[in-house]
Amino acid sequence: MNLHQETPGARVLVIEDEADIRHFVRLALESDGHEVTEAATLERGLIEAGVRRPDLVVLDLGLPDGDGVDFIRTFRSWSSSPVLVLSARSAEHDKVRALDSGADDYLIKPFGSAELLARTRAHLRRRHRHAGGDEALLSFGNIAIDRARRRVSRDGELVHLTPIEYALLLKLTSHPDRVITHRQLLQELWGPVHTESVHYVRVHMGNLRKKIEADSSRPRWLLTETGVGYRFSPEGASRQGA
């Protein structure tokens, strides 16, 4: 397992009130060689987060003693470690709130250990990649982005992007594996006035995909998180973690 070598022994904090879920999350993470700390309440979670300085936090949004979003806000005041949120389906609003508050990603219950490990590996890898610094050249699949010269090429051929498309691509690719909400994109590209005009983002995203993706209705790199936002997947992995 060469993935193991990429993410050696990270400290992971699991904040979840259901003992069974905590248990299997621990089992899965420990099988990947991580050191797991458990917390059943928000209060305990904050204490553990302060003491253990985790490299990754797995957080259930529906905790008995408070809103998981409060944890994220507090945690973000001192740490930039990735936060992976566990949430029920059909609670898009909660997910968006968590992501806007600084969470990096979410998993919908029920989820399997494979999905959990794929996500945690991706986020822990990002931690290491950050150490490598920001390079001007970024490439994935057949796409290369030269951020210094503002050039995008596909199979070596220059791709013409509009300013918005380029800005969208840049924003997503500079946060690999992280879910960026519609609101965050709108805020960054159009300013705070247009945060409700989600179709701006969607239309430009559709055009961008037509230029970047081989099949724009089955994207590999620029993935849609329905009702939430978008995610750039540098591995080109499909949702099932193929």
Partner: protein
């Protein structure tokens, strides 16, 4: 009802007519009274005739005229004036006890006396009539005040009916029947009313009209009860004993009708407010229940999926057989999770209160996420996606439409042999946008594929294919919540085809490229 025969009770009748008798009866008693007063004046004057002069005695008779006018009205006053002149002439003017007048100057006095007597009597009587009218008006106002106070405290249509009945019985000796159009029921007060009257009341309630309808036979009045906003009901007044209505009574009835109309309107809004409060409470309860159930069902399912999959991670590694059992458990738990999701979503959407997050979006985006969501179900099928480049934006709730597409795709995968082709297609028409999912499988076994959208309906009965038959019911509920339609039909290839049709709307505005806040960054 106990009150329906109140008209036969003599007590309220007498009571109601006593004010009228005081104002209008000028019976023999009044005339006699006037005569008595004049005679009394004469008798008082007789012993004084020696010591007083004629002018003073005339004043005594004037007093008699004033008293008659004040006490008995205009007619007796005129009588008193004439009688006074006659008695004064006969008794006090020389030659006494004869109509002859000795002194010619006294003829002028007598003439003046008659004229002044008539005028004074008339004025006094007018004053008296005005005073009567004022006190009658005051009484009317007090009655209206009483009824408005009673109506003001009424909280139900029945109470209004009760107040109206008592009032009309006491004041007009009339029998009331009330119809209300309130939401608590178009409640008809049970009372003996002919069918004609009932029909007229219904008519009046429908059409309104300022003037009360007066029915000639039986003299019943049919009145619309007009509230400030709308007609709130109708009222029928009947008085068999005295079928005609005086103007003052009509004014009273009109005023009462307006008051009753306002009271009914107030009660109408009380009921509306109460009903919506009940509805809100019911909705809140349903949401609490649904979210409670979702949490309680999903949490153990999530544990089941996770724990079953973690079995493979235990040390020492499980045998191949154990691993496959664990995998089956996880798979079943996932399927059950999907069913629970369908069930809860259906309950949510069917309650009609689901809040759609309608957004404009390119349909490819939803197709992409739906396909990605059922990737594993589609591994043995060919997928073909057809979206024209100039496809207009759809306006729908992406999360819900994704549910529809996922259900349709999973159905297609479930009911077609592996290797079959599934096609997702978007088509634009001038008024409609279509989203279709079709396959080249065996097609529908049922001759009526529309029945598939009913709850717990499945294409093949007792088949081994899993699924509770909720998926398509959910699809229909979601599409219909969007104002669209969904239908099942045979595809050209002979397979099944599901067509969702949405109304095509004017597309939203798109800002020009240069509206970007970030600096232009052309590659």
């Amino acid at each position: 009802m106990a009150y329906s025969h109140c008209v036969t009770n003599p007590a309220p009748k007498k009571n109601s007519q006593s004010p009228a008798s005081r104002t209008r009866t000028t019976g023999a008693g009044a005339w006699l009274g006037a005569i008595t007063i004049c005679v009394a004046a004469t008798l008082i004057g007789l012993p004084l005739a020696g010591s007083l002069d004629a002018a003073s005695l005339v004043l005594l008779f004037m007093l008699a005229v004033v008293l008659s006018g004040a006490r008995f009205g205009r007619g007796p006053a005129v009588l008193a004036a004439c009688l006074s002149v006659l008695l004064f002439n006969v008794v006090f003017v020389e030659p006494r006890f004869s109509l002859a007048v000795a002194d010619e100057r006294l003829v002028f006095t007598l003439g003046m006396m008659l004229l002044v007597g008539l005028i004074v009597g008339h004025l006094t009587a007018s004053l008296r009539a005005q005073a009567r009218a004022a006190s009658d008006g005051e009484r009317l106002v007090r009655r209206l005040y009483d009824i408005s106070r009673e109506l003001g405290t009424a909280l139900t249509v029945q109470q209004v009916d009760e107040v109206a009945r008592q009032f009309m019985r006491a004041q007009l000796a009339a029998q009331v029947s009330l119809w209300a159009r309130n939401p608590s029921a178009a409640r008809v007060t049970p009372s003996p009313v002919s069918e004609t009257l009932e029909a007229r009341a219904a008519e009046v309630m429908q059409q309104g009209g300022q003037q009360p309808v007066e029915l000639r036979d039986g003299g019943a009045l049919v009145i619309a009860l007009q509230g400030p906003m709308a007609i709130r009901g109708a009222m029928v007044l009947q008085r068999p004993q005295e079928p005609s209505w005086r103007d003052s009574e009509r004014r009273l009835i009109d005023a009462c009708a307006a008051l009753i109309g306002s009271a009914l309107e107030r009660i109408h809004y009380i009921e509306v407010a109460r009903d919506s409060a009940v509805e809100i409470e019911g909705e809140r309860l349903r949401n609490v229940l649904l979210s409670g159930i979702s949490h309680d069902l999903r949490t153990p399912l999530a544990s089941l999926v996770g724990l079953a999959e973690s079995l493979a991670l235990t040390r020492p590694s499980p045998s191949l057989q154990q691993a496959s059992i664990a995998q089956s458990i996880a798979g079943s738990a996932r399927r059950m999770g999907a069913m629970v999701n369908n069930l809860l979503d259906l309950a949510r959407v069917e309650s009609g209160k689901v809040h759609l997050r309608l957004e404009w979006l390119p349909v490819e985006e939803v197709i992409g996420t739906s396909v990605a969501a059922c990737e594993s179900a589609l591994v043995h099928h060919h997928l073909h996606i057809q979206v024209p480049d100039d496809m207009p934006l759809f306006r729908f709730d992406a999360v819900l439409i994704e549910r529809v597409l996922v259900n349709l795709l999973e159905n297609a995968a479930k009911y077609t042999p592996s290797g079959a082709t599934i096609t997702i297609e978007a088509v634009s028409y001038p008024d409609e946008l279509w989203l279709c999912v079709s396959d080249d499988g065996p097609g529908f076994r049922s001759s009526r594929p529309q029945d598939l959208f009913r709850k717990f309906e499945r294409g093949a009965r007792e088949s081994a294919t899993p699924g509770a038959g909720l998926g398509l019911a959910l699809c229909r509920a979601i599409v219909e919540a969007h104002g669209g339609t969904i239908r099942a039909e045979a595809a050209a290839s002979g397979g099944a085809r599901f067509v969702m049709a949405f109304a095509r709307r004017a597309p939203p505005d798109m800002p020009p490229e240069d509206s970007l806040t970030s600096r232009s960054c052309l590659p």
